[in-house]
């Protein structure tokens, strides 16, 4: 699997990096869904993403939907400029909870 994750202050944090495209988004999807299946609240760190295509964004959408069904927290952190422009195209910047980093998310969680 080409992406890693860590557990930090109650969240599983999946760090995507480089190009998240047709070739690599199935790995991203599998990791996101695997973390959620383990009932972990989940943040996806996009700070090191150079490019994310629709298949990568679709994996995030699917993860968010699954988290909602399972009553788990979900969000994006460190959304790079490249990733943000793709999210904005489909107005998904208004759908996902987006925070600068884990600290900002925890502050919002209260």
């Amino acid at each position: 699997m080409s992406f890693g994750h860590r557990v930090e202050r109650g969240y599983a944090v999946v760090a995507l990096r480089g190009d998240v495209d047709l070739a690599r988004s199935p790995d991203a999807r599998a990791l996101i869904l695997q973390c959620l299946e383990q009932k972990s609240d989940l943040l996806v760190d996009l700070s090191e993403v150079d490019y994310i295509d629709s298949s990568g964004v679709a994996s995030l959408v699917e993860g968010y939907q699954m988290a909602k069904k399972e009553g788990l927290k979900f969000g994006l952190i460190g959304v790079s400029e490249a990733a943000l422009s793709v999210l904005k195209l489909a107005r998904l910047d208004q759908v996902f909870p987006i925070h600068a980093d884990l600290d900002a998310r925890l502050l919002d969680d209260g």
Partner: protein, 271 residues
């Protein structure tokens, strides 16, 4: 223009055409066409009916073999390209045809998903979300279960665009996006083309005869007339071109040709 576009405009060409000659029978329709489209550029191919712009597009799509000359797309020579290489190339190229070319027996959603089924092995749910996202992008959210026959002309064009971009192509060909559309829908499509370039870093080639739309979105333009390129330059330089034929086209002035009496007589008598 944003810094993102500026950066992309300096990249390598995505389309290179060298000295392209094409015939329909004995009639020469393209006569030594040279064309370069740079990465991240919105390039308009413009010209009146019979100018050769549709023929040029068909060659760029590999739908017709060249009489002579070279075409390179995304660095790949089209002539003699290996089948597997062509398949890979097609994954990176989207085409939105003038009439939409949606399959009438499939729903809009199935039409949009088609390239994903053909070219990827993505999970079914991923493909469905990707198709719905692209329908949202073209303002057709919620129309996935409609049949093409239930859509208006503008909606069919947008659905065709959704299908053309579902694979996030590096290079998008868009044939006559404004034809037959009212001015508001046409302006919306132009806006969408600009957003696609910005967000997805697409290089976009638009074939059109609609001047207003062309100047709204063009970085550079190529103007064809009678199979030859009159000018290929930035939109501003085309607008201010001293070439009288270019100005005739921009100002919708009819062509005034000197009559060759002998040739005319020969045409009429079939000799």
């Amino acid at each position: 223009m944003s810094s993102v576009s500026d950066r992309m405009l300096t990249s390598d060409p995505v389309v290179e055409v060298e000295n392209l000659v094409a015939h329909y029978g004995s009639h020469k329709v393209l006569d030594g066409v040279n064309l370069t489209v740079n990465a991240g550029e919105i390039h308009i191919i413009m010209g009146g009916s019979g100018s050769g712009k549709s023929t040029l597009l068909r060659h760029l799509l590999g739908l017709r073999r060249v009489t002579s000359g070279r075409i390179r797309l995304l660095g790949h020579e089209l002539d003699g390209v290996h089948r597997s290489e062509l398949q890979e190339l097609r994954k990176q190229i989207g085409v939105s045809f003038q009439g939409g070319a949606l399959l009438s027996s499939m729903t809009v959603g199935e039409n949009v998903t088609l390239p994903l089924r053909e070219h990827t092995r993505l999970d079914e749910s991923t493909m469905a979300i990707m198709a719905r996202m692209k329908l949202e992008v073209v303002n057709l959210g919620g129309f996935e279960h409609f049949m093409p026959a239930q859509l208006s002309g503008g909606m069919i064009k947008r659905a065709a665009l959704a299908r053309a971009i579902v694979m996030d192509p590096k290079l998008l060909f868009f044939d006559e996006p404004s034809a037959g559309l009212d001015p508001v829908v046409s302006a919306e499509l132009d806006e969408l083309i600009l957003r696609l370039r910005e967000a997805m870093h697409m290089s976009i080639v638009v074939v059109t005869h609609e001047l207003e739309s062309a100047f709204r979105i063009a970085d550079r333009m190529t103007v064809l007339d009678c199979g030859k390129i009159l000018i290929s330059d930035t939109a501003d330089k085309v607008r201010n071109s001293a070439n009288s034929r270019v100005q005739d086209l921009l100002n919708r002035r009819p062509r005034v040709e000197e009559l060759d009496a002998d040739a005319y007589l020969a045409r009429l008598t079939g000799e």
